[in-house]
Amino acid sequence: MQNPFAMLMPSDRHSDRVVPPSGFTAQLTLFSAAAMAFLAVFALALSLASGRLADRWQDALDGTATIRISAPPEQMETQVAAVLALLSTTPGIASSRALSAEEQRALLEPWFGPDLPVDALPLPRLIEVTEGPEGYDGEGLRQRLTAEAPGAVLDDHTRWRRPLALAADRLRLLGLLSLVLIAGTMGAMITLAANAALSANLQVIRVLRLVGAKDSYIARAFVRRFTLRALSGAAIGTVVAMLGVALLPRADEAGGFLTGLGFQGVGWLLPLILPPLAAIVAFAATRFAAFRTLRGLT
């Protein structure tokens, strides 16, 4: 009892033979473990992908919004001043500042080259707005801008992503919850299969007790079997599912959600914990079932 996992060492092949092979429950266990591992890989992939998505969108939200002011040159400075004043009294806005002519030229340079006569062009002025942690009321700000500076347009294109980021975060949680449910279901299925095997072998167990076998010895024969079956079944299911994920077409590199479902980098190692996890679940479930059956015998 010091080390329950010593039960799994191949040293004791005899305890395996004393219980007759059980073809049907063996195949059922193998199949369930494979199916559950297959589903678990997708739940894991879903969870990881939605996690990445949530992070990405959250980052974008932390960026800034822009206010664009188009006005006749003589009104420009007054409107800029009016907008800045308005922003400084708007709740939820951490800071705001007007971009200088140099900064605007730098923004345009990639498109028009360095020689663009910025001063001579009727360019709109840009005001960079940094949102505070509590967020601001976009619609309210828009209305006040129209009243105070008719030439100002609020561009907060990233804000529509907020509910999506939230949804992606929920999706990650649902994926994790699915993993827990899959593990629980597998435990339940293995308990049922182990109980079936134990009842089918009640007479064998009785004889083993009669000739002086300890409970741990008898339990070991069953635990070994179901643990190894769960391990190999889960390994098969995991490999097949990982192949499936690896072969998903990558049509949209721009970050479409479905095509981003794969694993990335070390993420590919994560599904490899599923077979050992299945083995641990099977170990615990069979051990529990075996000792419960044995307690009913002398």
Partner: protein, 223 residues
């Protein structure tokens, strides 16, 4: 070795055994007799802790049965050889594996080399690879005896060991049991075969316990 003190037992109906007190001294040879259904098998089950007494005390190797843990019971059974009435073999294992099963479950597989000798001693040397269902009743009972003694137990309990045997084979089995007793083993045989008892009494100092009206009494010379 094994002692009953004022033991009673019932399966849930009426009381089957009452006020049973007996003592199996080391090296003693006892028969347990009584009509079919009297409770011979039940008494033996009490003696190897498959059943616990409804009241009274059963003591095996100086330990009260009720105080034994499940592992203690397993260890106790390794010191008591039992020939069960229905043999209790594992039908999917060959005879040799069945006979050495007590060694296997005790993790003493290395000692199975004595197995050939033992199978030869009970006259089953050629049948080690046969499956139990392929054997005759007599062969099964001799195999059961071999399994009962493979651990070198101090006590041997046999439940109707000659039940399926003709007279000649019964005598052969009896002589094996007498031989074991001469080697110092404590022996208790449940049987309703009075001829067998008479035959044994000619060879060893056997005492006869008889179950009558739920009580166990020492039978006199009136057999």
């Amino acid at each position: 070795m094994i002692a009953f003190d004022n033991v009673a037992y019932n399966y849930g109906g009426g009381e089957l055994l009452s006020e049973v007190s007996l003592r199996l001294a080391p090296g003693s040879f006892h028969f347990l007799t009584g009509p079919s259904g009297a409770g011979k098998t039940t008494l033996l089950k009490l003696a190897y802790a498959e059943l616990k007494p409804t009241s009274g005390r059963v003591t095996i190797f100086d330990r009260e049965v009720r105080s034994l843990s499940r592992d203690d019971i397993a260890m106790t059974r390794r010191r008591i050889g039992v020939v069960h009435q229905d043999c209790q073999f594992l039908d999917h294992l060959p005879l040799a594996a069945n006979v050495s099963l007590p060694l296997t479950v005790a993790g003493r597989t290395g000692e199975a080399r004595d197995l050939t000798d033992l199978l030869g001693w009970v006259g089953l040397g050629a049948l080690g690879d046969a499956l139990p269902p392929q054997l005759s009743g007599g062969e099964r009972q001799r195999a059961a005896l071999a399994r009962a003694i493979i651990m070198g137990p101090d006590v041997l309990l046999a439940d109707e060991p000659t039940g399926n045997l003709d007279w000649e084979l019964s005598l052969r089995l009896l002589s094996l049991l007498v031989e074991l007793n001469r080697m110092g083993k404590t022996i208790l045989i449940a049987t309703h075969d009075l001829n067998l008892i008479r035959q044994a009494k000619a060879q060893v100092a056997a005492r006869v316990l008889r179950i009558k009206n739920r009580r166990v009494q020492l039978a006199g010379a009136d057999l």
